[in-house]
């Protein structure tokens, strides 16, 4: 019956397509969009500045640091400002900031990695356990300058929830990974979309304007997004 349903839907579509009135429907794919202006190469200072300006317009924060050690210090400062005793974090290898987790632990912060079980009941207990954590720490696959977006790709050691569950998200982004636009990033990294089960573009803190069109931050996702840009 399942196989049948597929056949039925496809047959209905094929029947409809014969003589369908579809203005401008060319047989061949229209190809790439040619109208993109020349843009600076990834990592260019102009792009970093634009990224920061866009992110800050959305009430996110960019912290441009000149060394890995400064990045770790900036992260600890944010964690301490929120009096967080515990953070959810990606594994060290994916953070792009060696020593960050050790620095946090030295400051007395417990670093928790997520690994949800396949059993529904165990999963629920694990989720309840990590829900109160105030800060999540992640790396980033890329930054998009024209929108102030982070690109996060899931994978081993790279949980989705670290950038989602806690009210404060700290992401470490390498300068060289700041691309001018989404199309530029997708062109530079073909296949990236299916590398993990999840690729998410995070453009500023969580927000809503559902009640009387009044902008409010931190509905279901983080209300603070800090991007530490490292050399």
């Amino acid at each position: 019956m399942m196989a049948d349903a597929r056949g039925h839907v496809l047959a209905d579509v094929r029947r409809a397509l014969r003589g369908a009135r579809l203005p401008e429907a060319a047989l061949s794919h229209p190809g790439s969009f040619g109208g993109c202006p020349e843009a600076p190469a990834p990592g260019d200072a102009v792009l970093i500045a634009r990224f920061g300006a866009e992110l800050e317009a959305l009430c996110g924060a960019m912290h441009l640091v000149s060394s890995i050690a400064d990045a770790a210090r900036a992260a600890v400062e944010i964690v301490e400002r929120h009096e967080a005793r515990r953070v959810l974090a990606w594994s060290e290898r994916w953070l792009g900031c060696p020593g960050l987790l050790a620095t946090l632990e030295q400051a007395g912060v417990q670093v928790t990695a997520i690994d949800l079980g396949a059993d529904a009941a165990i999963r629920r207990v694990q989720l309840e356990d990590i829900e109160p954590v105030v800060v999540g720490v992640t790396g980033a696959e890329a930054g998009l300058a024209d929108t102030g977006s982070l690109v996060l790709v899931s994978g081993p050691g790279r949980s989705r929830l670290a950038s989602l569950l806690p009210p404060v998200h700290i992401a470490v982004l390498s300068q060289a990974r700041v691309f001018p636009t989404l199309p530029a990033f997708l062109a530079a990294r073909p296949g990236v979309m299916a590398e993990g089960s999840n690729l998410v573009l995070v453009t500023g803190p969580s927000r809503t304007a559902d009640i009387e069109m009044t902008l409010t931050h931190g509905v279901h996702g983080p209300r603070e997004v800090h991007v530490i840009v490292v050399p």
Partner: protein, 480 residues
């Protein structure tokens, strides 16, 4: 007048007398429309990009069977289970079966137009699964037993005081929980967090499905789209069969237009692209690969036709290019006056006036194609330049639609055709009409036309005709 038309007119009368609704509509739609304009200006070559997006949509719909097969194959390659639903009954049955197999008692739901179209919540509740809407607007709609009135801002028709009263009555909120809008939002966050963590399944729609990779894309601002598709063990994505784009690059094109057209954002906060369920251990990175630490263990994708192939075969097929941004609502003078509820369906505004009647199998034609002044604002703002006014005219000209017109109108139009095709009679009638309107008018306007024509003047005045017709002036001026 048909029952459908009478009901529509009754809803319109309620809407235009609702002063709060009028104020809310005016403010929300003009803010969204302004934000859209501003956001498109920030995009280099926005017009060319829209043309390109239109070509992508047209090509995709024209080869929909091929792309659907490719999408289903790729999604399955990544471990998703793909289901096909011809009708809304098929779709709800499939989701209920998935929920049962998962032993689900609680489902969290991210906003999905298709799920509203197929009345999924009712079907799940009937099967003993509690469903919680998690988009703040949809959550409020669900608590109130109401219906959404805008594609993007579902509770545009409600005040913060309404919401405060609702949270008090239904959720036991205390005064400090509902003191202001940020407090209400925080209260909703706490309430919905508990549901997210306990839910057995998460249900979402899809803004786009990418054939090349088998990915589904869920775009939200709040983060509920991410939580619904990450926390529960099972994720079900409902995908209208026309949501396909061929490639990742094409998705990039659509994303540049979607949020700008919808809310004036350059991108929505979360563009969530999902390719299969979470990857198990021993994957790409060899034996040391511990697998992905979170995300659902099962991903079900339900491809829903529910009348879309009927639209594709009909005269309004172009409406399938739509990317559901809602810009046509904000631009439409009719929507801005009557709001979403008056349309009486899931899809309001100009898109709804085409989509709903074109998809419908109902014997009685819908009154909605007439709910337009054909001003063309919808076509102007549409990111993929759908010619909605022409589609509305085509629907109005359908034989069933013509047959359903009131008798006086059909007789009247036949009479007009008789007169207008006989020049001597036309001149005579025009002279009489001129004399009549000039005698009865005050300051150049008539407040009431005679007989059945008075329906026209019930809501507006009619201008008195000029004392001399163009042909008369022309004849007098022409050198002999």
């Amino acid at each position: 007048m048909s029952r459908e038309a009478a009901d529509f007119h009754a809803r319109v009368r309620i809407a235009v007398r609702d002063r709060h609704l009028q104020a809310a509509l005016a403010s929300a739609t003009s803010r969204l429309a302004d934000a859209r304009l501003h956001a498109l200006e920030s995009l280099p070559s926005a017009d060319a990009l829209r043309d390109h997006a239109r070509r992508i949509r047209a090509h995709t719909i024209g080869a929909l069977d091929t792309y659907l097969e490719e999408f289903a194959r790729r999604a399955a390659d990544h471990g998703a289970r793909v289901h096909w639903a011809r009708t809304s009954a098929d779709a709800t049955r499939l989701v209920v079966e998935i929920a049962r197999a998962a032993g689900a008692r609680l489902a969290v739901k991210s906003k999905s137009m298709v799920s509203e179209e197929i009345a999924l919540n009712e079907a799940l509740e009937a099967a003993g699964v509690r469903v919680v809407e998690t988009d703040l607007g949809e959550f409020i709609v669900q608590l109130a037993g109401d219906r959404p009135s805008h594609i993007i801002v579902p509770v545009v028709h409600r005040t913060s005081a309404d919401v405060a009263a609702l949270f008090r009555a239904k959720l036991g909120a205390r005064d400090e929980d509902v003191a202001d809008i940020p407090m209400m939002t925080a209260f909703a966050r706490r309430t919905l967090r508990r549901e997210f963590l306990r839910a057995d399944i998460g249900i979402s729609g899809a803004n786009f499905a990418v054939a090349e990779t088998g990915s589904v894309t869920v775009v939200t601002n709040e983060g509920n789209g991410r939580l619904s598709t990450t926390a529960p063990r099972v994720h079900v994505a409902l995908v209208g069969i026309e949501r396909i784009v061929p490639t990742a690059e094409d998705l990039g094109v659509m994303l540049q237009l979607l949020a700008r057209s919808a809310t004036g954002q350059k991108l929505s906060v979360y563009t969530n692209i999902i390719t299969g369920p979470r990857r198990p251990a021993g994957g790409a990175e060899g034996p040391s690969d511990g697998g992905e630490p979170d995300g659902p263990d099962e991903l079900h994708i339900v491809l829903v036709d529910n009348g879309r192939s009927r639209i594709l075969a009909g005269p309004s097929a172009e409406i399938l290019y739509c990317i559901r941004c809602g810009a046509c609502l904000n631009g439409c003078p009719v929507y801005r006056t009557i709001g979403g509820h008056a349309y009486g369906g899931v899809y309001p505004g100009p898109i709804g006036s085409v989509f709903a009647p074109a998809r419908s199998e109902a014997a009685h034609p819908s009154p909605l194609p007439h709910a337009s002044s054909l001003c063309g604002a919808c076509r102007e703002v549409c990111p993929v330049r759908i010619d909605i006014p022409s589609l509305l005219l085509t629907l109005r000209a359908q034989p069933a639609m013509v047959r359903s017109a009131p008798r006086w109108l059909r007789v009247g139009m036949a009479g007009y055709a008789f007169v207008a095709t006989r020049p001597w009679l036309y001149r005579l009638a025009a002279r009489l009409a001129r004399a009549y309107t000039r005698r009865r008018s005050k300051d150049g306007w008539l407040t009431r036309l005679p007989g059945p024509l008075s329906a026209w003047t019930a809501h507006r005045d009619f201008p008195a005709l000029a004392s001399r017709s163009f042909t008369e002036i022309w004849a007098a001026r022409r050198p002999r």
